[in-house]
């Protein structure tokens, strides 16, 4: 499944964007050095193929329902890991931009979840291992099935972790995990079966397509482990940087902060209070601005701090009238813009 912008925090999104950006840069370098230019249009057209193939319904025997293809594993098998990864990345970018599937900030997460595991773990370490001594239809079947299932399990585990780190949902880890993994086991099995069927067909009728990819130098294990170590380091550094950067404003990390300390969002809130205090002191005819507390500003800050742990109710509570007014205001502005536009059109 695609991570959505609405479910991630800037830190998680930023870290994953940097990570996937790194893998993409690495893959591009590999593609430029190792693979001939013939592959470029092939990657483009295959991307379009996967896009279209994702919409084919495959009926699942004995269930009455149907499933479809994700295509990550198929791309790795047909194009090799680097070209496969890049193809997946461009499909996901088009999905994010044009179809709102995933999103620009969640793009890094999606590229990682759907591209990295299949192309750089499942393909070289599982698929290649099963097919290391030549291929036959049985080997293709086992290799495709297992690598698809594992690739998707890792991807969905990533989704769980990314969602929880972002802290937009209240789902406990265990529940979310138990919800996601079995669903993706089923999806993975269908994906694996379809992938196996397709790869077997191509191996029978156009074996040179598979041979071409298999011949492309297998990933030397040193390079891939280097890449993974470099990635981990990058994640820690980038993540750390973003967290440090963001900790001055209370985003993202508030999740863990709140869980541990029971307080968060103090800064924004008190900032608002300060401003409002200023506003109030200047405009003395506005005696109080909170439902419950009357009195001095400082006292109020103290009090609000006391009740904060329950929820940032200061913000949510009093926002209703203001929120409605904001929407009315936006609507009115829109109406006016429209009016002006119409008048202009009439004139011209």
């Amino acid at each position: 499944m695609h991570m959505a912008d609405a479910l991630i925090s800037p830190i998680v999104g930023g870290t994953m964007l940097a990570t996937s950006g790194g893998i993409t840069a690495y893959s591009i370098k590999k593609v430029q050095n190792v693979i001939d230019e013939k592959k470029i249009p092939l990657m483009g057209v295959m991307g379009a193929f996967v896009f279209a193939a994702q919409m084919i319904n495959f009926s699942i025997p004995g269930t009455g329902s149907s499933g479809h293809l994700g295509g990550g594993m198929l791309l790795a098998i047909l194009l090799g890991p680097h070209a496969g990864f890049l193809t997946m990345a461009s499909i996901l970018l088009i999905q994010a931009l044009f179809f709102g599937d995933g999103g620009l900030l969640a793009y890094g997460c999606n590229v990682f979840n759907l591209g990295f595991y299949t192309c750089f773990l499942a393909y070289p370490y599982i698929y290649k291992w099963f097919t290391r001594k030549g291929i036959n239809s049985k080997k293709i079947f086992v290799a495709s099935l297992i690598s698809s299932v594992i690739g998707l399990q890792l991807g969905s585990l990533s989704v769980v972790i990314e969602t929880l780190l972002s802290g937009k949902t209240e789902l406990p880890f265990g529940t979310f995990f138990l919800l996601m993994q079995p669903i993706h086991l089923a999806i993975g099995i269908v994906e694996g079966l379809v992938t196996a069927a397709v790869v077997t067909f191509i191996w029978k009728y156009r074996p040179e397509i598979l041979e071409r990819t298999a011949k492309g130098k297998a990933l030397a294990s040193t390079t891939i482990s280097k890449v993974i170590i470099a990635l981990l380091v990058a994640v820690v550094i980038v993540g750390g940087f973003f967290s440090w950067f963001a900790s001055s404003s209370p985003d993202g990390l508030e999740w863990s902060m709140e869980k541990t300390a029971g307080t968060s969002e103090l800064e924004t809130s008190s900032e608002i209070h300060e401003i409002l205090a200023n506003v109030q002191s200047r405009t003395a005819f506005l005696p109080d601005y909170d439902f419950k507390t009357n009195g001095e500003n400082e006292e109020q800050d103290m009090k609000s701090e006391d009740k904060w742990p329950s929820v940032n109710s200061g913000t949510t509570t009093s926002g209703i009238v203001g929120g409605l007014l904001t929407i009315v205001l936006i609507g009115a502005t829109g109406y006016i813009i429209n009016l002006i536009k119409r008048r202009r059109r009439k004139i011209s």
Binding site: A53, T163, T315
Partner: protein, 269 residues
């Protein structure tokens, strides 16, 4: 079948919209890309209990819709297609967090507030992405990516995928039609032809890629994609960016509805 048609229709619509010539369309693509990313970052940086603070951000898509002269319904329809996935996860919030919060005079489960916050964020982020392409078009987005130093190979490949999407959708729908005419009442492609149905399509795709490569090669392609000149960012573009960034920052720092609210209730009292 219907998803195929819908996707194709949606893509064509966005392609058409991207070629309009409104005020928003004329803004430099890189500026629009940066504005969109900044907007998205601001939207998702709001804490999960904050609903009111998000509301002023609705101003941005409304402004783009109006000045970009875009049709609202088809774009919002896309939102409805994407939303269920997000709602599926968000709806868990009311189940897992039912501590009560006093709002006005009513107690409300905190989970509903976070759910509402996710819903609004979903609406704003999905709309913002689609509005970006609807006012820019793929070619100018490619231009922006090139200016950001995204490697040429990636940009070219992105354009090719975009270009051949409609060709392959067409091919897939013809095959599905031919299949379903001879397999009435089936709910999808039968297991026995999973491999051949998709496999034939892949083999054709490979052959097509081969021809595309030849035709590129005959026109001097040597692995290097050369895009045209990049248009310059003008002061006007810069101003556009600055104004939005200013607006987003203000909205992020100050909870405007809250301020309005307090002033308003203050006035009443």
């Amino acid at each position: 079948m219907s998803t195929l048609k819908n996707s194709l229709y949606h893509l064509r619509l966005l392609d058409d919209l991207g070629k309009h010539n409104s005020f928003i369309h004329k803004v430099h693509p890189l500026i629009k890309l940066i504005t969109t990313v900044f907007y998205l970052a601001v939207v998702i940086s709001f804490e999960r209990y904050d609903v009111s603070g998000l509301l002023p951000l609705i101003f941005y898509p409304m402004f783009i819709f109006l000045l970009g002269e875009l049709p609202i319904t088809p774009i919002l329809k896309r939102l409805l297609i994407v939303a269920p996935l997000i709602i599926g996860i968000g709806i868990m919030n009311p189940l897992f967090d039912n501590s009560k919060v006093l709002i006005g005079n009513i107690y409300i489960s905190r989970g509903w507030i976070t759910f509402l916050s996710i819903l609004i964020k979903c609406g704003l982020t999905v709309t913002a992405s689609i509005l970006l392409v609807a006012t820019t078009g793929i070619n100018r987005i490619a231009e922006a990516l090139r200016m950001l130093k995204v490697p040429k190979i990636f940009v070219l490949q992105l354009l090719l995928t975009y270009r051949y999407f409609s060709v392959l959708i067409e091919e897939v729908s013809i095959m599905i039609r031919a299949y379903s005419l001879r397999a009435p009442g089936q709910k999808g492609i039968h297991r026995s032809v999973w491999g051949s149905f998709t496999g034939i399509l892949i083999i054709r795709t490979f052959d097509r890629a081969q021809r595309v490569y030849q035709s590129m090669n005959l026109r001097g392609f040597r692995g290097e994609y050369i895009n045209g000149y990049n248009s310059k960012i003008t002061f006007k573009d810069f101003l556009y960016l600055m104004m939005w960034c200013f607006f987003f920052t203000i909205v992020r720092i100050y909870n405007i509805p809250l301020i309005i609210d307090r002033i308003f209730t203050g006035v009443i009292n």
